[in-house]
């Protein structure tokens, strides 16, 4: 071998060995690293390597914490057991044992006696059972024989068997007696034993119960504490077998996710880190108790993430909550990648941009929030006593902290990145869009109301804002039945679903049931020329906020993409104003019949309740809810409620006294769909208020002068728009002849169709000729009638067109240009989506549909040159904040004026923007299966309809409904003069329980103020509701208050004695001292009561029988008035012997019933006149004047 020539190798074998060895090490090392990465959640800085198993650290942290909790709990259980007398019981047990040992002989004897008795009892029982079976057999033999022998008892066989059965029966009876005796004896010996030993047995039992609790906790603790468990079962590789540190997941089968077009259940692994998510905080009592006993308690809500528990556990996560984690999981609401187990890839989204101080926690090597200053430290940070020197505090955003702590980076390709806490309520929308007053969804609620009022939905279609519930058709359901089931108008359902007249449903089909219909948010401009002047209109268009700070009207000029062209803006604004005035109707408003008194008008505005919806000269944005209303609403609600109507400061600059007078007398004559109700003002009242309001001028607006609209610019822009359809040369010529382009705006809606379909007139003329010809041939009268009708129609259209032509021909040259340009600009900005404008009845809104915007991929959004984070929500925030900013740097270069962005800028605070972003980001393409949808029951459906109505009409501006609202109370209305509470918390009063539905219906339709509480200045307005709308409210109050509906007249005890007792009580309790009865109170006719005494009065009881429900009076109101209505002046009487021992035997319940029944006869023909029981009255119906 040695002699053979060495093969010439490119390599050297020994060196190769070295190489092998080295690569072996490298492989080994990488294997170790692989295992390390897979096993560990640590960070190896020298390799810049993060372990993939961060969650293990958190589980470790969790178990450490949980062990501490167990130890604390065990200690607490021990102390509690001792408090419950464990030690004493143990002492007692010992003592009893000692006593018993002295009586050993007796104990043995007793035990022997029990044993003996038991043996005897057993024996006799056994014998009894056997003989009884025997007897039963004999009996049946006898019956068989009897049957065999045709019921003849004389046959020997029968007689014999009967004898036998009888004999056996006697024997059994005897045995039964013996058995009973034996049973009794056994019991007696046992009792004897119990007398001696019972105490001991009971003690043992109780000790065991207390002891077990402690043992359970200690055992669990030891399990976790064992180093064997911790060290071995969680070791690498073998951990999969039975580690305590393990992969955990919730398969939320009720909610799915779509992955690559396939529908799969969500598999949420969030709980691997968020292990404390369902841990409950100690109750305040428990906390106090433990503080007293110096036992620590873990407050899960104060743990650092991810160990912290979920807030609002009564709503989310908790087993008894409506969204238990076990069936809902996490990602259904929070989004994020359900199966992922690392921080970054699961889609965590950082919160707001503001920087906050952080410090590095030495033990965990994580950055944690630095405690602020000594003063505002809360208890837990104080307890930790972290020493903070100024030097190691770093100001960072949450994003930066995450990058440091978790190596976080944005997951661009996640379609559903986690929703940050700020916007998480967006998720509620996909299931709950039909509902309002969502607990835990306050931001969403505010946002939706805001979108409704701002009118975002009227330019941008938002299916979710249409508010319907989706019904999944089941077998046997038809369309008619469905409409009846929900009690909705079939036509509304047809319209919402686009159904034809004849509807046939298929099983599983989705039918949307409308809950409400939204009204165009802006006022009608059909008659605008009679309301205001062109000058004001121009200033208003130029900058609405300058005139009215809380307006919902957006600004269109002077923004990012047109602030640089003031002259052009002036031309546009002028053209629109000219257009609106040119096409406006011009009804005349005469001078009011009486002279108004501004001073009194001011007083009325403060008293009548106007301030529940309006504000005069208050800066609502700075307002904090007054303490007296804090329990009912938040700041936002307060601001919202009082922004239902416009801010009235300066209204005189816009409208004159005559118009205001007519408006106040009947708002609907000017604007049929206005939300402003009719206050039923008298002529003098209306004149006073109108005079006051007309005197409120906005000096700044009055003095402002706008730049003039320059003629040459008007021409330039007119040509620009003409050029859209014409070549430049022709456009230049056309500007001198615009008549045919603007005629159509001066005809009515019907005639306009002939302009939209220019061939229509010719077509109809041809048709007419054909008809005429047909008639000449057939002499068919029907054809003749048709022809004549068509001829008349054509004639009419021609007349209207001719009139329009004349109007236009009579116009100034400049006006024509303005009308033309104005019409184009109204099209461009889409003004008609919010306002009624002649000529735009059928125009389509200009905004993009936003129904699925929340799922829009970020790369489809144009960020322009704006330097913001490239995220869906940051884009939306920017859009709302500065809608035209995405044009920045592009004007004139890449964009023609007509191509510029056109969305208006709304005057929104950051908080409002967040509310809107919450809603819009919740409008996603997520589809719900029938199993997942939140289908409302018919009762819930009716309640939601009512809730939306209450909000839309702003009932809660004045009243408190469902413990919300009552804003008017904070506007200087005295205690006792507020509008009545309609429904408080669930235990407080409910209008549906208090009043009869029929009365409520009548009252809502046509309020009769001055009847029940004549002292009130606030006036319930007439909303002009249809029967259907009024019924929605009546049903809502009944169902929401869980009152009996439909209502049944109560059974009133009409016996004279009963009513006489009632009357006696009524007089003794001096009810009539405050309550109005028969038009009198305080012993005087109402008219004679001085103004300052009015607030002392209490409701008119002569109307009680028409208004109040007996059940409520008897079971709630008289029993504890304050529980029903906090602060009420109605006292609680101590019915029974305390106030009237001699009436109805001092029985409190009977007294209440008698009093109520008496009150319910007041004002009816059943009213008792005398206390002395009269002779039996003529047979009377059982209730007073039952309502139909």
């Amino acid at each position: 071998m040695r002699n053979q020539p060495e093969t010439l190798h490119e390599y050297n074998i020994p060196r190769l060995h070295w190489w092998f060895l080295l690569s072996g090490f490298v492989f080994l090392l990488s294997l170790v690293l692989m295992i390390w990465v897979d096993y560990s959640g640590g960070y190896a800085p020298w390799l810049a390597l993060h372990g993939d198993r961060e969650w293990k650290n958190y589980q470790h942290q969790f178990y450490t914490l949980d062990m501490k909790r167990l130890a604390d709990d065990a200690k607490a259980a021990e102390v509690k057991a001792n408090e419950a007398g464990l030690a004493r019981m143990q002492d007692d047990l010992e003592k009893t044992n000692g006593e018993l040992s002295g009586k050993k002989a007796e104990e043995t004897k007793l035990q022997a006696a029990v044993d003996q008795a038991r043996v005897e009892d057993d024996l006799i029982t056994r014998q009894f059972t056997m003989e009884k079976a025997m007897r039963d057999q004999d009996r049946s033999l006898y019956e068989e024989a009897l049957e065999r022998d045709n019921m003849n008892t004389d046959v020997p066989e029968v007689r014999e068997s009967k004898n036998k059965a009888e004999k056996q029966n006697d024997f059994v009876s005897k045995l039964d007696l013996l058995k009973q005796q034996a049973d009794a004896k056994l019991q007696a010996t046992k009792d004897n034993q119990t007398v001696l030993m019972g105490h001991e047995v009971e003690l043992q039992h109780n000790i065991k119960r207390l002891d077990d609790g402690i043992k359970l906790l200690t055992t669990r603790y030891k399990q976790l504490d064992s180093s064997l468990v911790q060290g071995v079962v969680n070791a690498p590789v073998i951990e999969f077998a039975a580690g305590t540190i393990k992969v955990e997941q919730i398969i939320a089968d009720k909610h799915h996710t779509d992955v690559n077009f396939a529908t799969v259940p969500r598999v949420d692994r969030c709980i691997m880190c968020h292990k404390g998510i369902d841990r409950k905080d100690p109750t305040p009592e428990d906390r106090d108790w433990r503080a007293k006993h110096k036992i620590e308690v873990i407050e899960w809500s104060r743990q650092p993430q991810p160990l912290r528990n979920h807030p609002q556990m009564d709503l989310f996560v908790g087993d008894t909550s409506p969204h238990p984690a076990t069936t809902y999981g996490c990602t259904v609401c929070h989004w994020g990648w359900d199966r992922e187990t690392t921080f970054s890839r699961s889609g965590h989204t950082p919160e707001a941009e503001e920087k906050q101080p952080y410090i590095l926690d030495a033990s965990t090597k994580q950055w944690v929030k630095a405690p602020k200053s000594e003063d505002d430290e809360d208890d837990d940070t104080k307890a930790q006593k972290v020493v903070v020197s100024k030097t190691n505090v770093v100001e960072m955003t949450q994003k930066e902290v995450w990058q440091k702590n978790h190596n976080w980076e944005e997951e661009e390709f996640l379609m559903q990145p986690m929703r940050s806490a700020k916007y998480v309520q967006a998720s509620c929308l996909k299931c709950h869009n039909a509902q309002t007053n969502l607990k835990g969804g306050e931001k969403l609620d505010h946002g939706r109301r805001l979108i409704e009022q701002l009118g975002c939905w009227s330019c941008h279609k938002m299916k979710q804002m249409e508010t319907y519930t989706t019904h999944h058709v089941a077998a046997g359901e038809d369309f008619e039945g469905l409409c009846k089931f929900y009690d909705v108008n079939a036509d509304d359902v047809r319209r919402l679903n686009g159904f034809p007249q004849e509807v046939s449903l298929t099983i599983g089909q989705e039918v949307n049931i409308p809950i409400r219909t939204l009204r165009k948010p802006g006022p009608s401009l059909y008659k605008v020329a009679s309301k205001t002047n062109k000058e004001w209109m121009r200033k208003w268009l130029d900058n609405p906020v300058a005139f009215r700070p809380n307006t919902y009207m957006p600004r269109f000029w002077g923004l990012d993409n047109n602030a640089g062209t003031p002259d052009r803006n002036a031309v546009e604004i002028n053209a629109i104003a000219e257009y609106l005035f040119a096409v406006s109707d011009q009804p005349k408003y005469p001078v009011p019949p009486v002279q108004g008194d501004a001073e009194n008008g001011k007083k009325l505005v403060g008293q009548l309740g106007c301030m529940g919806c309006h504000v005069i000269d208050e800066k609502l944005m700075d307002v904090k809810v007054p303490a007296s209303l804090k329990q009912y609403m938040d700041d936002w609600q307060y601001r919202r409620l009082r922004s239902q109507g416009p801010q009235l400061a300066g209204v005189g600059s816009k409208a004159g006294g005559n118009w205001l007078y007519a408006w106040l007398k009947d708002p609907k004559q000017y604007h049929p769909r206005t939300k402003m109700p009719n206050l039923r003002l008298g002529d003098q009242e209306a004149a006073d208020v109108a005079t006051y309001l007309a005197g409120l001028h906005n000096e700044k607006t009055d003095q402002e002068t706008l730049p003039e609209a320059k003629g040459e610019l008007l021409d330039k822009e007119t040509i620009e728009y003409l050029q859209v359809t014409l070549p430049m040369e022709e456009a230049r010529k056309k500007i001198n002849n615009l008549d045919d382009l603007i005629e159509l705006y001066f005809v009515d809606e019907e005639t306009m169709k002939y302009y939209q379909d220019p061939a229509r007139l010719a077509r109809e003329e041809t048709q007419l000729k054909a008809l005429q010809k047909e008639f000449e041939e057939t002499f068919d009268d029907a054809v003749d009638r048709k022809a004549k009708k068509l001829a008349a129609q054509i004639e009419q259209v021609k007349v209207k067109i001719q009139a329009a032509k004349q109007t236009v021909a009579g116009m100034q040259f400049t006006d024509k240009k303005n009308v033309y340009l104005g019409s184009k600009l109204i099209f461009r900005y889409g003004c008609y989506a919010c306002h009624d404008i002649h000529g735009f009845e059928t125009a389509k809104p200009i905004g993009t549909e936003l129904s699925e915007w929340g799922s829009k991929p970020v790369d489809k959004l144009d960020f322009g040159l704006v330097d913001i984070e490239k995220g869906r929500l940051s884009w939306l925030k920017q859009k709302l904040h500065a809608p035209r900013s995405f044009d920045r740097g592009r004007i004139d270069v890449t964009r023609m004026p007509q191509e510029l962005l056109r969305m208006g800028k709304f005057n929104l605070t950051d908080e409002q923007i967040d509310q809107i972003v919450t809603v819009v980001s919740g409008m996603t393409d997520e589809k719900l299966t029938p199993n997942e949808a939140r289908q409302l029951t018919p009762a819930e459906f009716q309640i939601e309809r009512g809730r939306w109505t209450v909000k839309e009409l702003n009932c809660i501006g004045c009243h408190i409904v469902e413990a919300q609202g009552g804003a008017v109370r904070a506007t200087g209305i005295a205690t006792g003069m507020e509008p009545p509470l309609l429904s408080g918390t669930p235990t407080q009063l409910h209008q549906g329980q208090r009043t009869q539905p029929d009365w409520l219906f009548q009252f809502i339709k046509a309020p009769q103020t001055g009847q029940i509480r004549p002292w009130l200045h606030v006036r319930m307005p007439t909303f002009g509701l249809t029967d259907g709308e009024a019924n929605v409210l009546v049903k809502y109050f009944a169902l929401q208050g869980e009152a009996q509906f439909p209502y049944q007249s109560p059974k009133i005890d009409m016996t004279p004695e009963h009513l006489a007792a009632g009357k006696q009580l009524f007089e003794q309790l001096k009810c009539a001292l405050c309550h109005i009865v028969d038009g009198k109170a305080l012993g005087k006719p109402l008219a004679e009561i001085p103004e300052e005494d009015l607030p002392r009065l209490a409701p008119n009881l002569s109307q009680a029988h028409l208004r109040l429900q007996r059940d409520w009076l008897v079971n709630k109101w008289l029993v504890e008035p304050l529980a029903q209505q906090p602060g009420t002046r109605m006292p609680q009487f101590e019915y029974g012997t305390a106030i009237a021992p001699n009436i109805l035997g001092g029985d409190g319940r009977k007294q209440i019933e008698a009093l109520v029944d008496y009150v319910l006869t007041l004002g009816t023909h059943e009213q008792v006149a005398e206390v002395v029981p009269a002779p039996a009255p003529v047979a009377a119906p059982t209730q007073p004047q039952a309502q139909p």
Partner: protein, 239 residues
């Protein structure tokens, strides 16, 4: 007069409770004076309830919002230890405090009691009164007393300065109670004097509360057995 008798009851009950802390023997006393021209007590028209009018046919009922004594001292000022006793607990007296409705007004007009101490409300008139207490912290109550000599007992669960009582039948009726966790309080009477006895040595904030003129607070330090004086001066706020 009944009023002084009732004040006696209050004072005595204060004394009784303080005796139990025999070791604590410091005291603070003084006078409340009124600076300026004393406002006149207005007559209250009571004819809204004939029963009330009858009782005041000869002596009209006077508004008690501000009562300046002849010597220029101010009546109905509630003086109490506002702070300095933290961590100390005092037993709740079992003897009830009385509030009487007589001649369609409350007697006493201002008084003090301890948390959970029984408050006995008596109607001495032959008309309906309702006693409507409007605490912010404890439970609100509103009890009707239609009969003469009716008694109702209530308590307050939480301390509060002050709880207002009103009668919804007779809107002029008004009274205030200071609900305390310690027994160191006193109401200035016809001589404008108050005294807080049996205090442990220490540093305190003593407050004087008046329904119209608000609250004043002064700091004071007392040693064991020391008796110090402290005066308060109220005046009409500038308008």
């Amino acid at each position: 007069m009944k009023l002084s008798k009732l004040l006696m009851v209050v004072v005595v009950s204060v004394l009784v409770t303080t005796v139990s802390h025999a070791a604590d023997s410091a005291s603070v006393s003084g006078k409340i004076t009124f600076d300026g021209k004393p406002p006149k007590q207005k007559k209250i028209p009571t004819d809204a309830d004939p029963k009330c009018a009858e009782m005041h046919a000869d002596s009209p009922l006077l508004n008690e919002e501000v009562v300046v004594n002849a010597d220029g001292t101010l009546k109905n000022v509630f003086v109490y230890v506002k702070s300095g006793l933290e961590g100390k607990t005092y037993d709740t007296p079992k003897t009830p405090v009385e509030l009487t409705q007589t001649g369609c007004h409350y007697v006493p007009h201002v008084f003090g009691m301890m948390v959970k101490q029984p408050l006995e409300i008596i109607n001495s008139d032959d008309t309906l009164h309702n006693i409507h207490a409007m605490p912010a912290k404890s439970k609100e109550f509103n009890v009707g007393q239609p009969n003469k000599d009716m008694k109702t007992v209530r308590t307050f669960a939480e301390p509060e300065i002050m709880v207002h009582f009103k009668c919804d039948v007779h809107p002029w009726m008004s009274a205030y109670v200071g609900v305390m966790t310690n027994p160191f309080y006193s109401v200035s009477g016809d001589d404008g004097a108050f005294s807080l006895k049996g205090l442990p040595a220490g540093e305190y904030q003593v407050a004087a509360w008046h329904e119209k003129y608000g609250e004043q607070v002064q700091k004071i330090k007392v040693g064991d057995g020391e008796a110090k004086t402290l005066d308060f001066k109220f005046s009409k706020p500038a308008e």
